[in-house]
């Protein structure tokens, strides 16, 4: 492990009392707590950190922030692999392991860098134009090959072992950015009494102040910011989230953010790795600062070329000198501070300014040792894996150097102001896009508002804080104390989108470093008619990938406007969309992963089912017993046994998942009459009836039973799948259509456990279990409703049959569900009572010809299902008129029929089609399809329900069932849909 060659003897905010170690590409290096991976690598003299996306050119650390385009590394191993992480955002901890990306076999010697030599042949659009024929090769060969060669890091296939969580919070004012503007805004808004949430992506407050040498109130910027943050933390109505990136703004002032809770700690930490925040606020103050723009010249992507602002952050914040012989190339005054700070840190600095000498304000800040060149440009860079020399034009001067700092001006971070549709406008004075009309709920301050003077920024932040508080209805008491920062010469800039073409080669001048887009690519895009900002982005990929054009966009727009000879304000800008910065899926999913991806609903009898070997099936969120296999039984054997037990003796099934709704009020019956096709207001108390609901368009919506428990008290059941949809439908109808009806209703699905007891012995068994209710046929006939107790628990008993057997549905408050279930089981033991699952239930309802989900598929009318006779003509109900449209009544409708195989050992499957002749093909040969098919133990052959064209007239006809996907065809006979007890003697007896 070597010495930190580029660490300055003093200065910076790193903790020099501790030395920690990390590895990069397997090599071990030293660092201090407070370093980022980027600052630590630079401290060790490492600039080369990656290979570029397309040409595999060597690339180095370019920025000191989240916008880093080049130094993307992969962290961790196995399931923890995290590719494409900007080294500038990785806080070094002891034992950190990082790897470079997109290189093979090694970073220094990358075989695919041959692409770089072939660059003239690989312009934008090259792949699409070249690899066109043969067409089939694109998916199989060309695209996989190109994808392997291009790209960034590689994802792991293992699942991520780390823990993530989500969190929600609310505030009156959200301040994004804890720089000077954000801190002042937070303080002023908080003084007015509103709740403020201050969010910042860095571990330390202060924003760019942490990287500046200039003072505020006589203190270093970092010390002033730390003091402010302490003051804010002591306020009850302020919350500060650091290491948190706000990635998007959504409708209704909702924001998404990711907090890096444990990323800076070893993976063994007990903390979650990241936390995904959903923030609800009333006001936004965007104090997210500004991002420096590159300058575009040939060789501007070489390792050792770096943004000027970043270079002074490395000096001032990290105590690292990224180069000793430095050329600073700028078109604005800000970079003079870099020249000053690097020179004071001991570097030999040469300043190259594209502007005329008299336009520059900041010459005075430079020490005498800094040599200055005005109206000069860098035209050439020498040094492949690190800069060694630059050539100036037009003078031709050559300067040996190991660091080139560039500044093309500053771009305000407008993303959060633009995400919900506000468009930024071009501002000539600051040569940047600004948000002049951000709306009433948002404002910007500081760099994000293109304000680059520190005192002005402090004032603007304070003003924004006050304004936001006022917008929340809070005035500010007392006077504001504005801090005083060191005065600096005013910021001046003269646009320089690229070094003039006569002086610098277009194909080596990179506009977008991350996507390897050069000036030549933009020229090509313009020539081929893709010169509009949105077209050029798609044509060249400029502004895509992780940095989303934060660095490249404005220069690209400037170049496009020059190429088209019109002002940049007319070239337009691309649209800002979330996410502003990459966010891990884990932080968005939180705990909702694996088996917790969605909740599971269990009935009150779930434990009994588990203890009795039930195999469960999912019905929506519910787990329901599918069948209960006994030793050596397979699915078919278990289902057959369960069905035969019910048909010959008695069985019981858990139907707690049915939707249950209770209605009260004098208009309850009237309300139900309007919802269902049949009438209930005149039904007697203690009676139940099957009911069908239609949608507005006349199709069947749901079915179930309606019971009348009292004069103005009804209880309805709806299908498990539609439980909430029916409730919503009822709420809507009541609130919108018929608010005058005096009816109150709510879901009681959870409140009642339910079980169906079915089979010839059902009455005898239930009579042994229930008290206070006579079950004899005359006292409690088919469709009767009564109340009693079982084992002391109150029960409601409904004589309803889905299976077609003599059957009762028993409802009890859910807390008694398991007890009542066991009591009935005990009472039925001598008769061999058998628990059955949903499959046996399906088999029996099919045998009985009862329709269910597969038949109620949203395309069937009541008449199609043979239920047309239920439709009342004496009242209005939802769907009545639409159901009488001629198209829904014609002869060619698909109607419910039964099917049985001509040869009793043959089978058929759901979804198969019914045709007359399997030899005829075409679009109109299908006469219908099978909706349900099961093996019927009662018939001892397969049976099916089908929707058949004009089916009710075709009983007795032989048709072919075909399933071309499975290469199957079987002869079937069309029969009535009821296979078991067609006269209903069993269930009524």
């Amino acid at each position: 492990m070597s010495r930190q060659t580029n660490r300055l003897p003093e200065g910076g905010l790193v903790d020099r009392t501790q030395v920690i170690s990390f590895t990069f590409d397997g090599r071990k290096f030293k660092a201090h707590p407070g370093d980022t991976l980027a600052s630590a690598l630079l401290a060790n003299g490492i600039h080369l950190t990656g290979r570029s996306f397309k040409y595999h050119r060597p690339r180095g650390i370019y920025t000191a922030g989240a916008e880093e385009p080049n130094a993307l590394v992969t962290l961790g191993n196995g399931g923890r692999t995290e590719p494409n992480t900007p080294a500038t955002m990785v806080e070094v901890y002891d034992g950190l392991k990082a790897r470079s990306q997109n290189r093979w076999p090694s970073l220094k010697f990358d075989l695919l860098s041959v692409n770089s030599l072939l660059k003239p042949f690989f312009p934008a659009g090259f792949y699409y134009k070249t690899f066109m024929w043969p067409r089939s090769f694109w998916y199989r060969l060309y695209e996989p090959m190109i994808r392997r060669a291009a790209g960034l890091g590689t994802l792991a296939n293992e699942s991520d072992p780390d823990r993530y969580e989500t969190a929600h919070t609310q505030c009156d004012v959200l301040v994004v950015g804890a720089g000077p503007a954000g801190l002042m805004a937070t303080r002023e808004a908080a003084r007015a009494g509103v709740n403020v949430l201050l969010v910042d992506e860095q571990p330390l407050p202060g924003g760019h102040l942490t990287g500046e040498a200039d003072k505020v109130d006589g203190k270093s910027g970092a010390a002033w910011a730390a003091g402010m943050a302490d003051e804010l933390r002591a306020m009850e109505n302020v919350c500060i989230l650091s290491r948190t990136t706000v990635y998007g703004r959504y409708d209704g002032m909702t924001f998404g953010a990711v907090e890096r809770v444990g990323d800076h700690l070893s993976p063994d930490s007990a903390l979650p790795r990241q936390r995904g925040w959903t923030i609800q606020t009333r006001q936004l103050i965007n104090a997210a600062g500004a991002i420096e723009r590159p300058l575009v010249f040939a060789g501007n992507d070489r390792p050792g070329v770096m943004l000027a602002g970043a270079a002074r952050v490395y000096v001032n914040r990290y105590g690292v000198l990224p180069g000793r012989n430095v050329v600073v190339f700028t078109n604005n005054d800000d970079a003079y501070r870099t020249a000053r700070d690097l020179s004071q840190a001991g570097a030999n600095v040469t300043l190259v300014d594209s502007r005329a000498k008299e336009k520059v304000h900041s010459r005075g800040v430079l020490p005498a040792s800094v040599e200055m060149h005005f109206e000069q440009y860098i035209s050439k860079v020498k040094g492949r894996s690190h800069v060694g020399r630059v050539t100036l034009a037009p003078s031709g001067t050559e300067i040996a150097c190991d660091l080139v700092c560039v500044s093309g001006g500053w771009t305000p971070s407008l993303h959060l102001l633009s995400h919900v549709g506000h468009r930024p406008e071009w501002d000539e004075a600051s040569t940047s896009f600004v948000m002049k009309e951000p709306g009433d709920e948002a404002r910007a301050a500081g760099g994000a508002a293109a304000t680059f003077d520190l005192n002005e920024t402090l004032r603007e932040g304070s003003k924004a804080g006050k304004a936001a508080a006022e917008a929340c209805g809070h005035g500010i008491p007392g006077k504001t104390n504005l801090p005083k920062a060191d005065d600096l010469p005013a910021y001046h800039i003269e646009p320089l989108w690229r070094v003039p073409s006569a002086m610098s080669r277009a194909d080596g001048s990179f506009v977008d470093l991350q996507n390897d887009v050069t000036v030549a690519d933009l020229e090509l895009a313009t020539r081929e008619g893709f010169g509009h900002a949105e077209h050029a982005k798609r044509y060249t990929t400029l502004g895509m990938a992780t940095d989303q054009g934060k660095l490249a966009n404005v220069n690209a727009l400037g170049i496009l406007s020059q190429l088209q000879g019109r002002p940049i304000s007319e070239t337009g800008t691309t649209t800002f969309r979330p996410l502003t910065a990459p966010a891990a899926f884990g932080a968005i999913a939180g705990q909702a992963r694996g088996s917790a991806f969605r909740p599971i609903r269990r009935s009150a009898m779930h434990l009994w089912h588990e203890n009795h070997g039930a195999v469960f099936t999912q019905a929506g969120l519910w787990l329901r017993p599918y069948f209960y296999p006994r030793e050596d039984e397979d699915f078919a054997a278990a289902v057959k046994r369960e069905v035969l037990a019910v048909r010959s003796s008695i069985g019981m099934v858990d139907v707690s998942t049915l939707g249950k709704i209770e209605l009260k009020g004098p208009d309850a019956g009237n309300f139900l009459d309007r919802l269902y096709i049949n009438a209930f207001s005149k039904m007697k108390v203690h009676r139940a009836r099957y009911g069908v609901m239609l949608r507005e368009d006349g199709m069947v919506f749901d079915d179930g039973t309606v019971s009348r428990l009292g004069e103005s008290h009804y209880f309805i059941t709806v299908t498990t799948a539609n439980a909430s949809a029916v409730m919503q439908h009822m709420e809507f109808c009541h609130q919108v259509h018929w608010p005058h009806l005096d009816v109150q209703f709510c879901t009681v699905s959870e409140t009642w456990a339910a079980m169906a007891v079915a089979g010839p012995k059902a009455r005898d068994v239930l009579a042994r279990a229930v008290n206070g209710l006579h079950l004899e046929n005359h006292a409690f006939p088919f469709m009767a409703v009564g109340e009693g107790t079982i084992g002391g628990a109150p029960v409601r008993v409904f004589r309803i049959s889905f299976s077609g057997e003599l059957a009762y549905e028993v409802y009890t408050p859910a807390g008694y569900g398991a007890d009542v279930w066991e009591a009935i089981m005990a009472a039925g033991e001598s008769d061999g009572i058998t628990a059955y699952g949903t499959e046996a239930m399906t088999v029996m309802r099919t045998e009985k010809g009862h329709v269910a989900g597969p038949e109620l598929d949203g395309r069937t009318t009541a008449a199609d299902l043979g239920l047309g006779g239920m439709m009342s003509v004496r009242k209005n109900f939802i769907g009545r008129w639409m159901a009488s449209r001629s198209g829904l009544e014609g002869q060619d409708r698909l109607q419910l029929v039964g099917l049985k195989p001509v040869r009793s050992d043959e089978t058929f499957r759901m979804g198969a089609h019914l045709v007359k002749d399997i030899g005829v093909t075409g679009v109109d040969v299908s006469h219908g399809h099978i909706s349900t098919s099961v093996y019927s133990p009662t018939c001892d052959h397969f049976i099916g329900l089908a929707m058949l064209r004009n089916g009710r007239e075709r009983h007795g006809e032989t048709l072919q069932v075909v399933s071309p996907l499975h290469d199957e065809s079987v002869s079937v006979e069309v029969v009535g849909p009821v296979f078991s007890d067609p006269d209903g003697e069993k269930m009524r007896g």
Binding site: Q591, P599, I600, A604, F745, C746
Partner: protein, 139 residues
């Protein structure tokens, strides 16, 4: 805990139910014309009697006691934990008030007993095991 869903009859919308803690009930407004009544002291019949005395025939009562499991959560981190799942603004939840919200896709009703908590989370019975699994990880 005994829980009733109380829905006001047609035309009774303006009526507000007084908090009658003396009678052993906590009555929370949970929606237009809708209240939720909690009682640890009374069984269902008891609640019906007290409510009947208070409001007569002006509302329909639905006993939901068996349909919901109530988890009482207290301690300084209560809101921090609940906010991992719920978008509710807990500061805005009045003392002796309740609000419907969703935690990890589970519809829950959260009521605040005192200013400093505890918070009672009323969870539909079928979701209870899933909710507890979520809570254990969130804590």
């Amino acid at each position: 805990m005994t829980q009733f869903q109380v829905i006001l009859r047609k035309g009774e919308a303006s009526r507000s139910l007084e908090i009658m803690e003396d009678d052993g009930l906590l009555i929370c407004a949970t929606g237009p014309d809708e209240f939720w009544v909690f009682s640890e002291q009374h069984d269902a019949q008891g609640v019906e009697t007290v409510l009947g005395r208070m409001i007569g025939e002006t509302a329909s009562l639905f006993d939901q006691s068996h349909g919901r499991v109530v988890l009482r959560i207290e301690g300084p981190r209560t809101i921090e934990v609940l906010a991992k799942g719920s978008p509710l603004d807990f500061d805005a939840l009045p003392v002796k008030g309740a609000a419907h919200t969703v935690i990890e896709h589970i519809p829950v009703l959260i009521s605040r007993r005192e200013a400093a908590g505890p918070y009672d989370v009323s969870v539909p019975r079928s979701y209870a095991a899933s909710f507890i699994a979520w809570l254990e990880e969130a804590i």
